[in-house]
Structure formats: structure tokens, C-alpha cells
Subunit: 140 residues, 2 copies
């Protein structure tokens, strides 16, 4: 089967608050939005931010918890860019979970929670390649 | 900033059990694995499955909950493939949350929880395109 994920959908409480984080913090533009969901075209898949009730109804499972046991990551080009990105996300409604520092496996990273408590790792990882379209490859 | 996500990392309790779901259920091959993490090269990003304690230590935040307020999606080519994929995932340790049916916005989808209770939507969505490399585009 194709090793493919088409969407990650985050359950959120407030569309405007969430959009501020993604649009002002990361600087991303929605490809579609209405009064309950916003979609962002990403590197080969789509990121959705959906009012949690809609997601729960679609999944037919209520009581989804935040923070959930997962992390998303966004890679940048330098340790300095890790710091400035974390600051920018903080200014757009994010909350710093871990300031940038060097993990044992190399590189540099910190963590920021979005306004709905979903964790984003902001990382500089010289061991992985990212092309001009944003496509990320494990290893070089 | 690049509209890019490099990794999604799922917190898991048992590597072997998780790997069975992803390797036997989806038929995916890890690009790297050790005794605490497995990485899968996906369509332009990397999927990680990491023992939850490791993820929590890295994030400097404990008590991450499952199921979290998010869903991942994998798209297939037909309504019949939605049904057979759900059955295959069920046979590899998944739990059906919603059998395949047609949502109001079109297409066909169901939901399966992986062995760590992370939700996967299995969808046929004729309104989005997926190329031979698995790269997914919102719209056609």
C-alpha cells in the first residue's frame, strides 16, 4: 500500500485563535476555510484545523483529549532560526514547552504548543534533507 | 516560512505491537528503527512512532493523553478499497471506530484506531489528487 498520509486534522476550540497562530506565527495561508474548518496545503499532504465537535462527530468518538500523545515538527535552516521561529510563534498565541537546545542525537530543537495545546517541535536537523518544495527525506 | 511539516511523531506503548499495525496492516516499511522508535518515510515527511516516555521527555511535558484530539488520514482509490483497508488494519491490531460510509461532503470514509488509540481515517476522496509518489494536493 502507498506509504502515504493525506491529512492530519487537529481538533481545535476557536478557529480565529488557531488561524492566528498558523497564519501569523508560521506565516501559512489556508487553501480553504469556512466557519468550522481551515485547510493548509502542506508538503505533499494537507493540514486541517477543525472545531473539535465536528472531528469527534465524524470519527464517532467523543472526549478526545488535549494535549494528545503526539508531536508535529517543522524544520528550519539553523539554530538561530529555531530561536526566532519559537519567538514568532509565542507572539502569535503559542506557549513555549521547551526552549531550543541540542538533543543527544544532534541538531537543535525546541517545542511550542499551539493555542489548542498541540505540540510543534521546531528543529534544525542537518541529517535530513528538505527540498525547495518542502519535501522532507529521512537522511541526506 | 515554508508551509512544511517534517515529522509527525506518535507516542506509543509497545513498539512491536505498533509495528505490526503499520507494517502488516498498511504494509509500510520502516526506514529506521531501534529499541525505542521506528521512522517511516512518508510522502514528503516522516512518520515516527516513539515510546511515549521518550516523546514526553523530549517535549518536557508529561501526561500526554490518548486518544488525542487529532486524526490522520490515508487515502485509497475506491469505496471498496476503504472497506478492504479497514478490514486489513483490523486484522493487524486496529479497532474500527466507524465503518465506511459516505460523508455529506462526498467520497467515502471510515475510521480505525491503531493499537495506541491514534485514529486513522481511511478515505476515498475523488475531489483531491494524489500522484504516483503519494503527494496529496487539495483539489484536483
Amino acid at each position: 500500500m502507498q506509504q502515504q498520509m493525506s491529512v492530519i486534522t487537529l481538533g481545535i476550540a476557536d478557529l480565529g485563535r488557531s488561524k492566528r497562530f498558523y497564519a501569523e506565527g508560521f506565516g501559512w495561508t489556508p487553501v480553504f476555510e469556512n466557519d468550522e474548518i481551515a485547510f493548509y496545503q502542506m508538503n505533499g499532504f494537507v493540514l486541517g484545523t477543525w472545531l473539535q465537535g465536528g472531528l469527534e462527530a465524524d470519527m464517532q468518538r467523543g472526549g478526545l483529549a488535549r494535549p494528545g500523545a503526539f508531536a508535529l515538527a517543522h524544520n528550519v535552516a539553523s539554530t538561530e532560526a529555531v530561536r526566532t521561529t519559537i519567538d514568532r510563534l509565542k507572539g502569535a498565541g503559542g506557549r513555549v514547552l521547551r526552549e531550543g537546545d541540542a538533543p543527544p542525537h544532534g541538531g537543535f530543537r525546541g517545542y511550542v504548543a499551539d493555542p489548542d495545546d498541540h505540540a510543534w517541535e521546531i528543529a534544525w536537523n542537518p541529517a535530513w534533507s528538505i527540498d525547495a518544495r518542502g519535501l522532507v527525506t529521512f537522511g541526506l
